[in-house]
């Protein structure tokens, strides 16, 4: 029994496809305040008319002057511009630009993405949201990245918070929160079209059109699709794991009155990922979301959001899996006295999950409806105006597997100098069990389970963080975040009774700690040259608790680099030419071992006329092929050098 895949091999191979639920609190809460600086240059803004200036969206929704540098958490922001100029062609490729994430491509359609370690194809400690809609699946508490492809051109920014976000967002924000935020329909007016192709990203195209009724709603509709070719087998040869996807949708934004804003969005997609090679999965889904925000008075607001999300996956071997999520969420913020700002909210979510089981591969029961109810409250107290603030908050959540969970946090932000903030935080967060953790049965023969249902409890973390964030001058922002995370009850695969050691059940047999540091900086070297990048150090010390006989020896849940480094350069040359590059260096992964590597992406773009852009991007240029992650299943793959060309009309 060399290496038990405690995760359901076919499922993992099948990797990816749901979108769902959540707490949509982003619009009004903390991380949304930390907008990327430098995005608005004086010369660019001065060219705008007064009317156009009034149409520029300012993200700082907290109605007080909020210093960028004062956010008391480890947040990094990737702007739409950063994504475009990196030549990124998918969400995970864009996420690489946040150096507080571990991102590794596994095969053509699968990715391992985590924060502060525990990275895996089935990484389960991140909360990921697109426009307030949670997209991790209750199937395994991870994200099917192969169906998460909102058009990159419509993305306003991605906020990546490493460290627990449980106090605001609730379960699964154990090691981090990713907020993918798309542009308002007001900002995507007129025609946008792109198309192109290359060696790996073989063909792609998107058409988007935005229109607006004067002083009424603004709308955009889009359709897009792509096809990607296969990665390489480690033994040589083609892995036949090509991936294609088509998607369409719309978004409407409407200022119904001076105080009311309404947003409606919907998307539908149909994808054919093929992680195993030679037998593509059918992955379809759609979602619709409505959000109403009302400004009650200066500093006070109410937001109500509801969404429906449907995902469905046919593994083409008799096993199918479908999920319908219904989520309602409301939150209210208001000032309390002169020095306090309170945000509180309630949410309810129903997840209707159904599988068509195979005789030897099953979720029992095949149909389960999961409910999640939660409340949160947060109070930000200004202890010394402009200098010292204390934020107390907690989420109270009820789930069907473990009952009530409390996830509190305390944050202190101290600004000894203007634009310098030292912050500290202590938070507790939990990862509640998924369907895979509790309900999965894998059998050798009918009635002889190898993996059986278990009574897995929540995994817990107590995180202590200390950070510094500063705007050293108009051109340079920098931050350092350090953390010490104390984990308990991490999932293990416990062998059954002798002589055969089956059935294996999941237990909470690992505890230990991780610590590390994340450095990040953005530097506008000149008006035409911008640099951003970061370095992350991560150390783990995990061990089995007494009584645990984890079949994987406490190692199966993660495979993380100790060091990683990235620098992105964006240069505007005369003659409307852009030369951009991203260099990333990733330390070796210990077990299974993947050698460390350095890779380089380069993008060249030229605008012969204002509305037309021609560009060519090279990805992973330093090696013919390289491995980034070795999963327990499917077979390991190598990622090949790629080049694609693109024509953009806007």
């Amino acid at each position: 029994m060399a290496r038990i895949d405690a995760r359901g091999s076919r499922l993992q191979g099948a990797g990816a496809g749901f979108a769902l639920t959540a707490a949509g609190l982003i619009l009004l809460v903390a991380p949304a305040r930390a907008q990327q600086p430098d995005s608005l240059s004086p010369s660019a803004l001065k060219r705008l008319s007064l009317e156009q200036l009034m149409d520029v969206e300012v993200i700082s929704v907290s109605r007080r002057p909020e210093k960028l540098s004062s956010t008391a958490s480890a947040i990094q922001v990737i702007t739409g511009e950063d994504i475009r100029r990196a030549g990124a062609s998918s969400i995970p490729e864009a996420l690489r630009l946040a150096t507080n994430l571990q991102v590794a491509q596994v095969n053509a359609s699968q990715w391992a993405v985590s924060a502060r370690g525990f990275n895996n194809v089935l990484a389960n400690k991140l909360l990921v949201l697109i426009d307030g809609r949670t997209i991790y699946t209750p199937l395994y508490s991870g994200v099917f990245w192969d169906v998460q492809d909102p058009p990159l051109e419509s993305i306003d920014r991605i906020e990546v918070v490493s460290g627990p976000g449980g106090a605001l967002w609730g379960a699964n924000a154990v090691n981090g929160v990713i907020n993918i935020i798309t542009k308002s329909a007001r900002e995507t007016q007129g025609l946008y079209a792109e198309g192109g192709g290359g060696t790996e990203l073989q063909g792609f195209g998107e058409v988007r059109y935005g229109a607006r009724i004067p002083s009424g709603p603004a709308v955009r509709v889009y359709g897009m699709g792509f096809g990607r070719s296969s990665t390489a087998l480690t033994t040589g040869g083609d892995a036949q794991d090509s991936w294609s996807l088509g998607e369409g949708g719309f978004r409407m934004d409407w200022d119904a009155s001076a105080a009311d804003g309404v947003t409606l969005q919907a998307d539908y997609y149909d994808g054919r990922p093929d992680p195993d090679g030679g037998s593509s999965i059918i992955a379809r889904g759609g979602n619709a979301i409505g959000r109403w925000a009302r400004k009650l008075s200066e500093g006070a607001g109410l937001q109500v959001q509801a969404y429906f999300d449907r995902t469905w996956r046919d593994f083409r071997n008799g096993f199918t899996e479908g999920l319908s999520t219904y989520d309602v969420d409301a939150q209210h913020r208001f000032p309390l006295g002169r020095r306090q700002e309170v945000v509180w909210g309630l949410s309810a979510r129903l997840m209707d999950h159904k599988t068509e089981n195979l005789p030897l591969f099953a979720f029992e029961p095949a149909h389960r409806t999961l409910h999640r109810y939660s409340a949160f409250v947060q109070d930000e107290i200004e202890l010394i105006p402009e200098r010292l603030s204390l934020t107390l908050g907690s989420k109270f959540e009820h789930n069907d597997y473990t009952g009530f969970e409390v996830q509190p946090s305390v944050r202190l932000a101290w600004s000894p100098l203007d634009r310098h903030t030292v912050w500290a935080a202590v938070s507790r967060a939990v990862k509640t069990p998924s369907r895979l953790d509790r309900d999965f049965v894998l059998s050798l023969a009918p009635g002889i389970p190898i993996i059986d249902q278990s009574d897995l409890q929540s995994e817990e973390v107590l995180a202590t963080e200390l950070g510094w964030r500063a705007q050293l001058e108009a051109k340079l922002t920098a931050s350092i975040s350090t953390f010490y995370n104390d984990y308990d009850n991490i999932r293990t695969a416990e062998p059954g009774p002798p002589p055969f050691g089956i059935p294996i059940t999941f237990g909470n047999g690992v505890r230990g700690h991780t610590y590390g540091a994340e450095l990040a900086a953005v530097y506008q070297a000149t008006g035409r040259w911008r640099l951003r990048g970061g370095y992350t150090f991560l150390k783990k010390d995990l061990s089995l608790k007494p009584g645990s006989n984890d079949a994987n020896g406490a190692t199966a849940e993660s495979d993380d680099p100790e060091h990683q480094f990235l620098v992105q350069s964006m240069t505007d040359l005369p003659g409307r030419v852009q030369v951009d590059a991203v260099l990333r260096l990733v330390d070796e992964l210990p077990d299974p071992r993947v050698p460390g590597y350095g890779e380089l992406d380069v993008r060249l773009a030229w605008k012969p006329i204002e509305r037309l852009e021609l560009s060519v991007a090279g990805q992973n240029l330093l090696h013919d092929e390289h491995a980034e992650f070795i999963p327990s299943s499917p077979s390991p793959r190598r990622i090949e050098r790629a080049v694609y060309g693109k024509v953009t009309w806007r």
Binding site: L50, L68, D418, E473, A478, H563, L585, G598
Partner: protein, 183 residues
């Protein structure tokens, strides 16, 4: 991974070296926008020529109290001139010191002292601007109002006229006209 570590050390050394303008900072996008609005106001408002000591005296954009713009406002007006007048940015802590300004932005932090500040500016041709609540109802001239994450302008035309300022229709058109006592 020795190479990697070397890169990292170099990068950290380069990226965290403080520069000369250490004390200066940047504004949030909200205040970057507001800085550019202030620059626009300079173009769309006419001051009586008597307000300037000389034909080439600078047009002064001033900030009273806490400065949310950092270096951004300075960058915005650098090298710009309006009707032959260069633009200058000045910062004051007390309203009495600001009487030589053409545009005066009053920080929201000064909300408590607004009535006194506006009183002491009376009789001067100064375009008063703020994002404080009730600014225009207290007699201020232009208030930045954030609605749906966008910046709207409320203009108290009566107050501007009383200070002998002429506001161009280009500025009035996209703004909401309010009166003292209203908001």
């Amino acid at each position: 991974m020795r190479d990697l570590l070397l890169h990292v050390v170099m990068w950290v050394a380069v990226s965290t070296t403080p520069s000369s303008s250490f004390a200066q900072g940047t504004a949030t996008p909200e205040y970057q926008l507001k800085a550019v609005f202030l620059f626009n106001f300079a173009q769309f408002v006419d001051w009586p020529s008597s307000t300037f000591p000389a034909p080439d005296s600078p047009l002064a954009i001033c900030i009273l109290g806490q400065d949310p713009f950092g270096a951004y406002l300075d960058e915005t007006v650098r090298g710009e001139a309006i009707n032959g007048r260069p633009l200058a940015v000045r910062r004051y802590q007390r309203p009495e010191e600001a009487t030589g300004c053409q545009i005066l932005f009053i920080s929201r932090k000064e909300t408590d002292h607004l009535p006194e500040a506006l009183d002491s500016l009376e009789g001067h041709s100064i375009l008063t601007v703020s994002d404080a609540d009730r600014f225009t109802s207290l007699g201020g001239m232009i208030r930045f109002v954030t609605e749906h994450n966008r910046i709207r302008l409320h203009i108290n035309l009566g107050a501007a006229k009383a200070a002998n300022l002429t506001i161009s229709s280009k500025l009035l058109r996209p703004a909401q006209i309010v009166s003292k006592g209203g908001d």
